[in-house]
Amino acid sequence: MNLEYSAEYQEFREEVRRFLAQHWSAEDAARQPDADGMAAYAGAAGVDERATAFRLAAIARGYLYRHVPRRYGGGEQPPDPLKATIIAEEFRRARAPHEMVGQGPSMLVPTLLEHGTEAQKERFVRDTLLGKVRWCQGYSEPGAGSDLASLRTRAALEGDSWVVNGQKIWTSGARASDWMFALVRTELDRPKHDGISYLLIDMKTPGIEVRPLRQMTGDADFNEVFFDNARVPAENIVGKRGQGWVVSRSTLKHERALIGGSHLTRRTFDGLVMLAKALQAHGRPAIEDPVVRGRLVELEARLLANEYQGHRLLTMSARGEEPGLAGMVMKLASTSLGYDIAKLAMDVVGDRALLAPGEAEAPAMGMFGTAYMWSLGVLIAGGAANIQRNIIAERGLGLPRDARK
């Protein structure tokens, strides 16, 4: 066990720092919107020309999109999780634009690279990486949540078009997106998973209506998307007819990795400690209350465990070992920790939890109230907690699969 980086990697870190010093100034950093903010999840983070120019330079140096070939606009580097970690750490420290957050770069691109045609890759990958084409995910439906394979939105091939009818729901960022990658039912005679195809749908297609869906925070980051005889060119299918389920599997795996990261949880926890120091409760700073202190350390233990587990997973990946159970538990471990941190923050806020997010009288503008609600959102998104428990029990512990129809 050695937590020092070797000379080769220390030199690499210096190289990244020199690059950042040259290409991303303190003024640039001050203008950059917070990449870790909640809005980033909803795909609302804007792109400006300065950020795009910087990303192009970083891609040319092989710092971003390392898994994407250069011919499609990526950095194309041999896999090296340690270098990827150093880049992420240094870019975060400099507040420089990293890879675009959102479902296009993180989910669609790996899927296209694995299953797309040459024409699809050339058309979409480069612009998606730079945020010029923005994507939403059309998976969930009112009747198909955890049981996604029961989805009923239909696409029928008529001439050179798929004619799509049906409804998607919980579609994050649909109003800001140019395109949707969607799962639709194309083979009516085939059972569940075998009847599904993966389609790329231009959101400007006539017959598509997007209706905002207001979530419990009061904002509307989700939408419902209705399809009424929307015609999609036949070549916009990814993979073969009826193979959409297999095509989409790589995508969900990527989303779980996206939601499982622990640096956001660290920020929330550090914010909670600051809050507990700043707020008075019953005649003393909240942090002097032994109950609060005990709970903080209890949560910090789980946070540290997740962080060191991140080092462990990184090491396994660098050694070419399969993470197995160690990787499967991370979404549940990190989202349930976020949920408990938010709960303690609400207790520390105390009676001022009566004030709504955005109310100037509320501590930290009520951001802990918003975080309290969002901690439920991420527990559900990308495979709800009970689905994670099934995955851990079945694939990780080898227990029998649930009876399914």
Binding site: L3, Y9, G294, V297, L304, V329, S336, A393, L397, L399
Partner: protein, 362 residues
């Protein structure tokens, strides 16, 4: 940057695991725990031949001079096996002797500990749940100790006892040998029958001062906290493994109980808590030797977290077994009881969390 075990460490773990499976199955665990002293000299000799008591003894004194992480990996395996014996007692004493800087005591006792020829233990805790070296009541005057240590591991079979006490200069560490005048050791019935405790009365017992100040005592306590965390992890993993196997074979309502979601989800929650917790005690052990400024706080956090998890794991897995899990005949309660020891010894979780909050400067 490599946060993983070395090939030597994996080999060490595997060797201990295979040896325990062959030499100390639960039938032998039960025989030892039902014996009068709770100590099986032949079992301890076998572990000594594998180098277990000498892991942290410097090479100059006949040990292998390894780090706390190596000892913790062995503690994990002993926890997995619910192995009875004075491992923890000797590890605490070794850490204290190493940190004492007392060359004579080290030269006299460490080689004997490493060979399994001597058992040495540490007497720290006192009445009132006191585990802080600054607040113990035992006093040293003119080379003699007076006081009471109610919960000393393996004191009844110890050849020497290291005693945390105070003299006019403040806290320090003294060594008392077996059979000393004024030393009375009373074996006690313990909840965990695989790690025995005894009450130690000191009434003018002649003792050698081997360290001034609290540093050596704290260092030994921190090593002990990490070893308890590792023992807890190993034991909890064993309970989880046993219960998964049971859930796959026990049938009710015409199917294995492991097919019911209620059972699956309880087990998945335990796995989701235990998996990352491994990395927490790994880091705490690593920090003990390599990141000294974080060592004390991480040891406290790891002990509190892992022993709480151990307790929850033994309770949930016993519940999942149903009636059989509540019997004496079934082995699960061996770990249930061991979890009680890991939680209580050196101070409970809440105490160490308050210490961790203090150490953070909150």
């Amino acid at each position: 940057m490599d946060f993983g075990l070395s090939p030597d460490q994996v080999l060490l773990k595997d060797t201990i695991r295979r040896w325990l499976e062959a030499e100390c199955p639960t039938a032998r665990v039960r025989a030892v725990m039902e014996s009068e002293s709770g100590h099986d000299p032949r079992l301890w000799e076998g572990l000594a031949e594998l180098g277990v008591p000498g892991l942290q003894v410097p090479a100059a004194h006949g040990g292998s001079g390894l780090e706390l992480l190596d000892a913790a990996l062995v503690a994990e395996e002993l926890g997995w096996g619910c192995t009875p014996g004075p491992f923890l007692a000797c590890a605490l004493a070794t850490a204290a002797l190493n940190a004492s800087g007392h060359a004579e005591a080290a030269a006299r006792w460490l080689p004997a500990i490493a060979r399994g020829r001597a058992i040495v233990t540490l007497a720290l805790g006192e009445e009132g749940g006191e585990w802080d070296a600054a607040r113990v009541a035992t006093r040293a005057h003119g080379g003699a100790l007076g006081g009471r240590k109610p919960l000393v591991p393996y004191a009844a079979v110890a050849d020497a006892i290291l005693v945390a006490a105070h003299d006019d200069d403040g806290p320090g560490l003294w060594l008392v040998e077996r059979g000393a005048r004024g030393l009375a050791v009373t074996p006690l019935d313990g909840t965990d029958m695989t790690r025995r405790v005894a009450a130690v009365e000191l009434d003018g017992a002649p003792a050698t001062k081997i360290a001034a100040g609290r540093a050596a005592i704290d260092r030994a306590r921190d090593a002990g906290l990490v070893l308890l965390a590792a023992d807890a992890y190993g034991g909890a993993r064993r309970c989880l493994d046993m219960t998964v196997k049971y859930a796959l074979t026990r049938e009710q309502f015409g199917q294995p109980i492991g097919a019911f979601q209620a059972v699956k989800h309880q087990l998945a929650d335990l796995a989701a808590d235990l998996e990352p917790a491994l990395a927490l005690w790994w880091y705490a052990a690593h920090a003990h030797d390599h990141v000294r400024e974080r060592a004390e706080r991480h040891a406290a956090i790891a002990k509190a977290h892992l022993t709480d998890l151990y307790d929850r794991t033994t309770r949930v897995t016993t519940e999942l077994h149903g009636g059989i899990g509540f019997t004496w005949e079934y082995d699960l309660h061996l770990w249930f009881r061991r979890a009680v020891f890991d939680r209580a010894f050196l101070g409970e979780a809440a105490y160490h969390r308050q210490r961790a909050a203090d150490l953070a400067g909150w």
